[in-house]
Amino acid sequence: MMRSTSRLRAAGLLLATALATTLLPTAAHAAGTLTIASTLDPGSWDPDDTFLVAWAQVATNIFNGLTYRGPDMKLVPGLATSWEELDAGKRLRFHLRTGVTFQDGEPFNAAAVKYTFDRLLGPAGAKSPQRDNYSNIDHVDVIDDNTVDFFLKQPDPVLPTKLAGYGGMIVPPRYIEEKGEDYFNTHPIGTGPFKVVDYQPKVSVTLEANPNYWDGKPKLDKLVYRFINEPATEVAELQAGRVDIVPDLPVSQIPVVQGDKTLSIATSPGPLVEALFFNTKSGITQDINVRKALIMAVDRTTIVNQLLNGAAVPINSFQSAMSFGFDPSLKGLPYDPEQAKKLLAEAKVPAGATLELSVLGNDPTFNEVAQAVASYLQAVGLNPTIKPYETSVFYNDIIPHGKTGAMYQFGWGGWTFDYDNTAYLIYHTKQFYNPYQGSPELDKLLETQRPMTDKAKREEILKQIAKYVSDQAWEMDLYNPKAVYGMSNRVQGFVPAPDDRMLLTDVSVKE
């Protein structure tokens, strides 16, 4: 009998030695290499194929657009050195940078620009989610090797901004024609500072510095993006020294990074805004006074400062302060629970009336925010419930078909930082994500501002739109989360950009 116990010990010993022999050299940083955690593998690096920020965080380093917008949010020349409006804004002429080549040596020229947009707007782009953003381009004409004209269906003041990202990235014609679309998806070539050298789907993508980059060779030799979905794991990788930057750090992980001396936090204003929209078609929230009461019942400032650790800014309109059309003079309803109770009583809402908050199930931060909102609503005598939904069902069915509770979570971040982008999508009556709100009056405002090339006048209308929506109390505006990055102290010169994209040419690592 003794022997079976010693067997046991032997087995335990075996396991311990197995562990000990595989001890890992953790901080295996290669010189000049920066490793970044990314939550998602877009599956294709073709600019036409996705809408994901995770794509842009990589692809901003592979491709260039005609224009560029950096962390300071100013639109500056990219592959075009200058541009001008012709035909009252219906034609845009771009003068291209000369001597630029793609990473395989293919020259960048006017033909490449034309090819890029013909491809996006032609049969090859039929299933591209990017297409609508650029559908205002009627066609692109080559004037000479270094000049192109964009012919627009109607004037489009946001287009130069749109050319700085996503579907506006210039792709290599010869390469794609020779190698084929499928090859391009996994072996992308652009004019950018880094070149993809290795892509392991769902595992990682590795980029190397492009020595011939037109704006000078980047400081880093190598970029590695590793796809890790779970935030707790991303932070563990950061703590173990195997990852240098974790973008989109959830609020719950901020104190963990702050508590580690080898790590730091970088923040920037972000594009995302979060709100609880009201069901204005049925139930107690049909009544505008009830909606106003609910807004007044909730103390957003406390939620932002306490629950979100200050990693967000309260908002009074469904846009961030950096958005074009933002009106600092627009004040939302104040936090006033007494007034809220009075309004609810006047509206004859019985005490203990139930209302459902529909939220995304896999958003732990918002789940906590929703609980806080619920407790404020309880304080004015209501009986809220929270119902979590699966993401695809939420966006496919629950919101578009108006199956939400009295209030539903909606988060949005237009990377163009133009209120038009958001307002049109959620307030125009013909839009897919707009089940409840809208009026012919507002539709008209939204439609008139779109082609306006007079900046000041368009901004004025956007402010009117925000005011109109605020008066109708269509949503309980909550907050604009900051973009938060967890970072190893060896990272030097990283400046987070408000649009969550990361151009890493000026970043270096301390050895």
Binding site: L307, G361, N367, A374, Q378, T385, P388, E390, V393
Partner: protein
């Protein structure tokens, strides 16, 4: 003492019975009294008392979560949902699975084939993926979650019961009963059912634990129930984000699950020994 004598005289003073009974009893009583002990179910949000560590204040002996909710109150109240989900779905699975298994094993033929193919189909589908898909379609919430668990587990019981019935069918006491003209229902009830009770009970106690944890995994995957209603699984899933900064958020509900699982399984073991007419294993 020989093994056989242990089986014939179930030990009422056995370790299993005492430990299992005490653990389960204490947990069930606490949970049943949760309304009296903590009338607000730990629902009160208090931003002044966020993430308080445990054992520092009498007001919050187990500490608080990021919303300042009292962990002790939520653990006690959370047992309501967790035990409800665990027990109701396990009982549902037992009833459905046993009925199906008895009928298909005893009568064989077409229904048997049909039921067993159903079982094959289900065993060929990874449950978590099935669960995500179906909760996405039929919606979340307590009832749907319980239905899903019953649907996922009846097969195990049906297979066990059917197997036992198949082997018992040809045994002397069953054949004898049949030849005396005893009705099928009576044969099943008096002769077959007692013989399958042992394995079923063990499986059931294990499944109660599985179901409590399943609720947690579904919350982890974003398919949980209302976060305002505390549950052990939900607390574990939300608490995972705070393991490094506030371990108490998920450790206390985790311990609650652990003690429940231990208690129920000890009781299950004892009950199996007690019921098993063939002698204990």
């Amino acid at each position: 003492m020989t093994d056989a004598s242990i089986a014939r005289a179930p030990r009422f003073k056995s370790f299993e019975l005492i430990a299992g009974g005490v653990l389960t009893g204490v947990i069930v009583i606490l949970v049943l009294l949760s309304n009296v002990l903590f009338p607000d179910s730990g629902d009160a949000v208090n931003f002044m008392a966020r993430m308080m560590p445990p054992f520092h204040s009498w007001a919050h002996p187990f500490g608080t979560d990021p919303l300042g909710k009292d962990i002790l109150a939520r653990v006690v109240a959370g047992g309501r949902i967790s035990l409800l989900v665990g027990v109701v779905s396990a009982i549902g699975g037992v009833v459905l699975g046993t009925a199906v298994g008895l009928v298909s094993g005893y009568y064989r033929g077409f229904w048997d084939t049909l039921v067993m193919r159903f079982a094959d189909i289900q065993l060929a589908l990874p449950f978590i993926l099935l669960a995500i898909t179906f909760i996405a379609i039929i919606g979340g919430g307590l009832t749907n979650m319980i239905v899903l668990m019953i649907v996922s587990q009846w097969v195990q019981y049906a297979r066990v019961v059917r197997g036992q019935v198949l082997s018992l069918r040809s045994r002397e006491f069953v054949l004898a009963a049949q030849s005396f003209g005893v009705s099928d229902t009576k044969v099943l009830w008096h002769h077959v059912l007692p013989n399958v009770a042992g394995p079923i009970i063990v499986l059931m106690t294990l499944n109660i634990a599985t179901n409590i944890l399943l609720e947690s995994s579904l919350t982890f995957l974003g398919l949980g129930i209302d976060p305002l209603i505390p549950s052990w699984g939900g607390m574990l899933a939300y608490g995972r984000n705070y393991l490094q900064t506030a371990w108490w958020i998920s450790v206390f509900p985790g311990l609650a699950i652990m003690f429940t699982v231990l208690g129920l399984n000890l009781l299950g073991d004892w009950l199996r020994d007690f019921l098993d007419p063939q002698g204990s294993r």
